[in-house]
Point group: C2
Chain length 433, copies 2
């Protein structure tokens, strides 16, 4: 018998290949002269070099503490860091830990909040289970859901974020189709959503808990609240989280990261959930990696303890506010001359969402993307990547995938890069107007 050299991968593997992020990164590598308004990196110059150095030196001045940082930690994360995270959370929410119903046992430290999102998907979702998301939403999480074989159903969004009437009617429709028992979670990026830059209004933050509970008929429907950008606020008001309105602490699962507000290279994020959900995540994480980098956790703990972290976030806000204003000014300078081109002014975060006339598609294979990357030497994220389409329901019952948006970021480029990138992008767009 002839031997076979064919690899038979798992089903999950077939669901998670051809990730758009891989294509984007490949384009970046293959076109080195390209100015990226796409890459989700953070501002290079404001990374906390001296704070990290101080924290490291303080940690390593005590060889006992240094050894602890170099040894295995626990799967849930360093207890001293988790205590500081609890204080951090109460500072942000302006509520006590008791009022929030949170203790260190509700907190798990992960490799960025991305790992928390992924672990939660693993423990909650079977293939065919449903997660409801805004349209548009964070496209890497769409990739996670696809990789789990989950159904992703999009809900209409307006300038105040996901529409609660649309969420409610979508759930009603799913119940009428006998699919309500497959709905496991509602995913929401509360502040300055990637890609739209929009925030969910306070009114809706309160309402969504009621909607989730109303439709928790067969089992609990969780709200997964992604607060990756909450600290990057450049204009008020700062809004309380959805989690802060969850009196029992059982409906909302909250996740945050230090990747945007401190340093992604440390890979520290965390999540807050009920003890049952924590136990599930901890078991899965124990099998996956025994816990995230202990040394990073100790460095971050030092930065939080000494308040150096908070000073840094203040400084970061001024850095990014200037960069955001530069991108908005450049948009005004280079794009206001085009008819039917508009963009959102985000109050925080890292993204500007730009809408072109409906006739101009922005996808990887579109003439605009190809011209931008090869001729004008500028790159953006096609907006269509941020929309999910579910084949299980009628297309009239879900938001259409809009193909004429671009996600632009002011995170990684400096002021000159932002201005030049926006100029190049307007050159690319001009020929299609």
């Amino acid at each position: 018998m002839a031997l076979s050299n064919e690899i038979r991968f798992s089903k999950k593997r077939t669901w998670s290949h051809d990730l758009p992020i891989s294509y984007l990164m490949q384009q970046g590598v293959e076109n080195p002269g390209v100015l990226s308004l796409a890459a989700g990196l953070v501002d290079q110059n404001s990374l906390p070099v001296s704070i990290t150095k101080n924290a490291f030196e303080s940690l390593f001045s005590d060889s006992g503490a240094a050894r602890e940082a170099l040894q295995y930690g626990t799967t849930a994360g360093s207890l001293s860091l988790r205590k500081l995270l609890l204080t951090h959370l109460t500072n942000l929410e302006q509520k006590s830990a008791e009022e929030l119903g949170v203790t260190v046992d509700n907190l798990i430290v992960t490799t960025g909040s991305q790992q928390y999102l992924s672990l939660l998907g693993e423990v909650l979702l079977d293939p065919g289970d449903i997660c409801l998301v805004a349209a548009p939403t964070y496209f890497v999480f769409l990739g996670v859901l696809q990789g789990l074989g989950a159904r992703i159903i999009s809900v209409d969004t307006d300038e105040s974020g996901m529409r609660m009437d649309s969420l409610d009617s979508t759930l009603e429709m799913l119940e009428s189709q006998g699919q309500l028992d497959r709905v496991k979670m509602i995913y929401l990026v509360s502040d300055y959503e990637n890609p739209s830059g929009l925030s969910l209004s306070v009114e809706r933050r309160k309402q969504v808990i009621g909607v989730a509970q109303k439709w928790s008929k067969q089992h609990r429907i969780h709200i997964l609240e992604d607060l990756a950008y909450r600290e990057l606020c450049y204009d008020g008001p700062v809004l309380p989280s959805i989690r802060s309105f969850d009196k029992t602490g059982e409906t909302v699962i909250l996740t945050q990261t230090f990747s945007k507000s401190f340093a992604p290279g440390l890979r520290v994020g965390f999540g807050v959930a009920s003890k049952q959900v924590c136990a599930a995540i901890s078991d899965k994480k124990g099998n996956d990696d025994f816990g995230s980098t202990n040394m990073s956790q100790h460095i971050l703990a030092d930065a939080l303890r000494e308040n150096l972290y908070y000073d840094h976030v203040d400084y970061l806000r001024s850095v990014y506010r200037e960069k955001r204003d530069c991108m908005l000014d450049s948009a005004e300078s280079y794009f206001s001359k085009f008819r039917n081109v508009h963009w959102i002014h985000p109050r925080g975060g890292l993204y500007v969402w730009m809408t072109l006339p409906e006739s101009i598609e922005t996808g990887f294979q579109s003439p605009l993307f190809q011209k931008a990357i090869h001729q004008d030497k500028v790159m953006y994220v096609p907006g269509e990547l941020c929309y999910a389409f579910d084949h299980g329901i009628d297309s009239s019952e879900q938001p259409v995938i809009q193909k004429n948006h671009m996600r632009l970021t002011f995170g990684v480029q400096n002021i000159e890069g932002i201005r030049e990138g926006m100029k190049r992008l307007s050159d690319a767009v001009k020929s299609f107007i």
Copy 2:
């Protein structure tokens, strides 16, 4: 209608709860006076405090390099580290990268080798797929496989590791049962296996590639070679890996870690596989966490580049050799008086595998374990955790789960702790002889 607050977890979650490691850790916390010969931590005193400090200072003396370490890296890991890992591997194998057929593109950096094991399981195994393992084997990987819903089939093992005749006949049996198409991998810990301390003989390292290829009839059966302990060798000879005999580089997937030979708190491991398998792992890892801690990778790269790593491993070998000898001496002192108690003398690694008379069970609920932990204040890992039982085949066709073993480690205790722990353990055993 009454609302439901019941959480409906994924199937995977139900497969991975009640992990034995959680029970063990809980026992450790609840019984603080207990001397642990169970915990898989590394020696605290020999952790590389000054090497890490030097590496960090060197990295942070250049603010450009420091910023690079604090920024996002790539999912596959830092290119400069991967180049050094390639050299590291060729040093260990005493073969060139060309002879091994490995480039940096075959290498992925992970959060310890544990994450590599878990990612590989995710991309290869569907529920019901089969992985063949030695009896006994690394119990945390059994937990990973269970969490994926995989079938685990144990293969007889003797003092030279997994028996190739048993492996062959097990595969023949599976084919006769129409199950060969579900066999995806053969898992082997080549050097100083956790828990047995045994190594696979060179002859079998060569043979197993042929066996895997012979039964790769419907698709490729991979060998997953876990080399977590390869550098912790206290008595020669150092053996070449299974991977070094794999001419095409497509059958064997190799994984290693710096947790044992340097510092687990940095959480750096890596794996080597064919490009197809790398692509699958990279996609999954991209969804899971975008890459492991960049700063750890830069620190380790510095230690490797400056050869400080190699000096440290030399030193570690002398530290652990002394600790191993202490455990073997203590075994001789306290256990040689008991009939039918024997133990393996490991040439490397961190574990001593001790066999009690068949009538003495060692499991969590056994009188011995309970007496040891509550009265004699000492803890070990019950050997039965390291055996898998598959309900899909007749019990006459698989190795029996042996219930009279203990896995003892000399990793975490100092010399006094090892001696005292062994004395306490002999007190616990004495009353059952």
